[in-house]
Amino acid sequence: MTPTVSIQPQDALYWNKIRNDFPILQQSVNGYPLVYLDNAASSQKPQQVIDSIVHYYTTYNANVHRGVHTLSQKGTDAFEAARKKVQHFIGANSEKEIIFTKGTTNSVNLLAYTFSQQMLMPDDEILITAMEHHANLVPWQMACERTGAKLRVIPMNDEGELQLDQLDNLITDKTRLISVVHVSNALGTVNPVKYIIDKAHNHHIPVMIDGAQAIPHQPVNVKELDCDFYCFSGHKMCAPTGIGVLYAKQTWLEKLPPFEGGGEMISDVSFEKTTYNELPFKFEAGTPHIEGVIALGQAIDYLENIGMDAIYAREMYLHNLAYEKLNTIPGFIPVGKAAKKASVISFLIDGIHPYDLGVILDKQGIAVRTGHHCTQPIMKQFNIPGTVRASFAFYNSEQDVEFFIAAIKKAVKMLS
């Protein structure tokens, strides 16, 4: 990807034009202009992504990879072109390393299931971190239950940073895999995954990165990271729901058994024996989410046209603007104060329940997330019921930040 340096984060003209690409943002909610700050839960979709789905069903809908007829060929071309786009977007070596899944959760489950079948023995260890989303915790817990392996956890300090000085003690000759979240959805912490990967590789341990919150907001290059597996979701990066990616090094995909059986993933089938299809199809049983894949390709085109560096700069600019203003509100308590953070602000207002704040913000057209953010162990560590989370995307505006702050002030007045 070519880093775009020409677009400045404060360039109102440019970013207004970008915002207008998102039809959903042009509406009112409860009589107020919609301020969508729940981007870490799901992103909005630009018109060209929406159009690509309509275009697919209007002009070339057919099943892929099988038909010799024109529509099927056209569909297959678009489908495989999207796989190439994903490959280039994350800097993978080959399109064979791109497995389409339903989303990050499905990617982690695919890996945890196949990895545990092939690689895990009783008393082996899987190492995760204290700030994992349930999606990168429960599948490994289930894998451990199936195999008798044990789950071990890299702890986190009160700032919301991993205590990596403990990594040397936690890595043992039983460690079979380390799975780490790239960017924490609940705290916004950006983890030093490259450091962890290098350390793990010194011990010949593979590393999976949960990139659901990283991919939409910063440049990611799996070759530079040298991670063995990288998972992410389409719907957080301007693509539809129900489509995601598991990137894996080809050697791993060759070694691991298939996940689901069915059509598409086979080479030869008889009642006695079935041989499996080549990569990546070995891991893609059944008719895939064709329009989802094509629209994911469109979303990547859209993001690359802006440039991930420009997106990162824009989002951090909005984040910092909001953070400064929040900091002046009496009782503001940020949750997660890592030195390196993404455009997520998780917080509490002293004496106010996050649920109450979320309800009163919604009444004013502000969409934020409240609750435990599918990270209950984090909430337990901080001994809080949950947080209010505002997460910014490049299509948010300075006005969004202003309305957000004004709405919080009003809510605080009502609730205290």
Partner: protein, 139 residues
């Protein structure tokens, strides 16, 4: 004779009709929550929590002279207002009346978008637990 469930519902509907904006309605709801008697910390045990709410709502149900008495608290003021409103409607009625109650007032007080069945606000869970408790005490 005390008011029936429907008479209380109608009374609440009338009260809310006096307010013309959402802020006043929520203020009223929050005030209702504040009118609940204070619950001792020793009663706030996990087995009394209503499952399915984003906030914690503790419910204690008892029966006196054949009528159900509810007692509740919450760590969130809006949830506390909601449960206070439900208590006001259902308290001091027979288990049968409570189980069969059609709570139409929720749709009519203009708080529907927030009190509508949604897994995070817990309204449905609150009503279900109140009815289940009443049913359990019916004999």
């Amino acid at each position: 004779m005390s008011a029936s469930i429907n008479e209380i519902q109608d009374e609440i509907i009338e009260e809310f009709e006096l307010f013309d904006d959402w802020m006043q309605k929520y203020d009223h709801l929050i005030e209702m929550g504040k009118s609940l008697p204070i619950m001792d910390a020793s009663l706030k045990t996990d087995d009394r929590l209503i499952k399915g709410c984003q906030s914690k709502v503790w419910l204690v149900t008892s029966k006196k002279n054949g009528l159900i008495e509810y007692f509740a608290d919450s760590d969130a003021v809006i949830s506390k207002g909601v449960i206070a409103m439900l208590i006001r409607v259902l308290n001091n009625h027979t288990p049968e009346e409570i189980v069969n109650a059609d709570l139409y007032f929720i749709d009519r007080i203009g708080l529907k978008e927030h009190l509508s069945p949604n897994r995070s606000n817990g309204l449905v869970s609150m009503i279900r637990q109140m009815k289940l408790d009443a049913l359990a005490l019916s004999n």
